[in-house]
Subunit: 387 residues, 2 copies
Amino acid sequence: DDVGESVRNMDDPYSNEPRRHAALKPSSKKPFNAEPPLILLVDSLITPNELFYVRNHLPVPDIDASTYELEVCDEKSEKEKVLMLKDLKKYPKHTITSTIMCAGNRRSEMTKVKGVKGLSWGQAAIGNAKWSGARLCDVLKDMGIEDGKTDALHVQFEGLDTDPANMPYGASIPIEKALDPHGDVILAYEMNGEPIPRDHGYPVRVIVPGVVGARNVKWLGRIIVSKNESDAHWQQNDYKGFAPNVDWDTVDFKKSPAIQELPVISAICEPLEGESVKVKNGKLKVKGYAWSGGGRKIVRVDVSTDGGKNWQEANVLESDEARHPWAWGWTIWTAEVPVLRGESEAQLCVKAVDSQYNTQPENFENIWNLRGVLANAYHRVNVKLRK
Amino acid sequence: DDVGESVRNMDDPYSNEPRRHAALKPSSKKPFNAEPPLILLVDSLITPNELFYVRNHLPVPDIDASTYELEVCDEKSEKEKVLMLKDLKKYPKHTITSTIMCAGNRRSEMTKVKGVKGLSWGQAAIGNAKWSGARLCDVLKDMGIEDGKTDALHVQFEGLDTDPANMPYGASIPIEKALDPHGDVILAYEMNGEPIPRDHGYPVRVIVPGVVGARNVKWLGRIIVSKNESDAHWQQNDYKGFAPNVDWDTVDFKKSPAIQELPVISAICEPLEGESVKVKNGKLKVKGYAWSGGGRKIVRVDVSTDGGKNWQEANVLESDEARHPWAWGWTIWTAEVPVLRGESEAQLCVKAVDSQYNTQPENFENIWNLRGVLANAYHRVNVKLRK
Ligand SMILES: [Mo]
Ligand SMILES: [Mo]
């Protein structure tokens, strides 16, 4: 039952996709986009590679690691450097735990307010992994590009995945994130201690911790230090937030900044919507994740069983030891929450608070946007209660 | 009409308070706490010194700048250094624009949900000024304390203001903020180009941009580089956030982190609650401020005239040129918003979006906390409409 595993067809750019785990539920097959079941998602603090959500914009390239080349260019000085995988491996190996989330995670909930354009993601377009590789700041330093020594403003990334017109996937990040040694941007060649799987960017993916998945470019082919943002579609005309009154007739993509750091979010992964759950000693067990971009750490998770009238703190928050403002990984939380005696139904909801004391908006109405991104309102799950 | 200007009384520790501007509205006189009228607050991007809100915890000390001494200690090495004002002025003079806000700003709105303990601030316990002085990281570097060269975790500050038992005001910040040259923590001796006024910390106040007012310690007397947070009351048992279910019987102050960076906030300053306003061509002019801690920049402000059903973006956002994640100053916004024809009343409300795409919670119910801090729900203002 491997999705993507179709009969080879030379006219089909998707004829050479990798094998995928049967548990991944695709929201699109060409390009392949899929998320794991919620129950598996919060089974461990580190998401196994084969269960990590896949968000591909184009066919998966088939790259030979032994001939792989990464170009690095400084637009101003016109300096260029080409690094093979073995060259990257000469740099100190840096390992970070970083959550990556798609800007469209939880879009299916926002859609209920009013239709949006985009893949219908549930709550599992997010995962947490250990990434190892060379620090981008070390590579750039070797080319003389350091904090205070360049007037460039952005670092652009191009993937080796290309569209039918041979245009690569592209994105960029602000240069200060790239040059900050504590920014932890790495040119990763390992995911959870193994070579990065093809679906996740083999052989090299740039990991930009705390920043939306769309800038964590897979199959990295080229790095360009520039005065300008990437002019790729995904940087200029996608992955941006807008006010709820903006529609496809009035939208001006130049007016909003490209999404970089993501706001605080959380979700309930157990129990599931519509599930019939056992009440023990008047309490329910609820489990989920919470995360905030920008290296903000989750400091509290509040859970309600009456749709948000009363709240109780989650009992256990599990995360790695990284501190604000370098807390790139998510938090798995567990709560034992009381339900009203005699009730046969409950609306569970969750909100998280991060180390900047930001919290989530209550509902989707006022954060609705035409692309269905940044869907971080309270997650609400309706369940039936059994004695 | 100068508030603190009372007859000298040697038994009254408040007998030697500075003169204050008549427009400042006190919420408490001993210690002196006061905010300016909203209409004056948004008159300029830089708040004039005499209109800047005052939040004092204790009597204002009367310090002679010519004999002023600042002690700097490294707990581990037991190194100590004493700096006079002239020593501080030998360091490169660094000027930043930074907004400072009291954690309790807008508390009076949160109180309406349920009573809280604290001064009843309106929306003006916030101001934006240019601060000049020596960078804390430069002073610490001179003592050998640099990023990667210390295992200290906090920098503690003590004020020269003291309580009846002679205990000083105290607070601390995480060391990474203090050591980061881009963190812009400065030992300021000027506010808007003048010596810092007595009410704001004369002769030296530590400015910790992006961080709650309570850590921007005035009348700075001592800096301690330590493995521990300040054990002062205001760090340990105050200025912390809690879930809405926590009350004074159940609160455990050890369970929440001290507030440092503040979350995104905004307020309407014109028109005022209850005001009768003129509608021109079906539109109203609305003006206010928006700000986010942690150097996040305001990227959008949405205004509604129907209590939050429909939204329109503010037309003008004015701020200084500083970029994320070093955008320490606020944004003054102006909106021309349509009102429904024939209506005689309107509920205006505002929400801001910052460069991490965080936004504000809709209501106070779910962010209510026993100390009434972090009151950043939508600001709602009811007005009467005139033709
Ligand atoms: Mo994405
Ligand atoms: Mo404060």
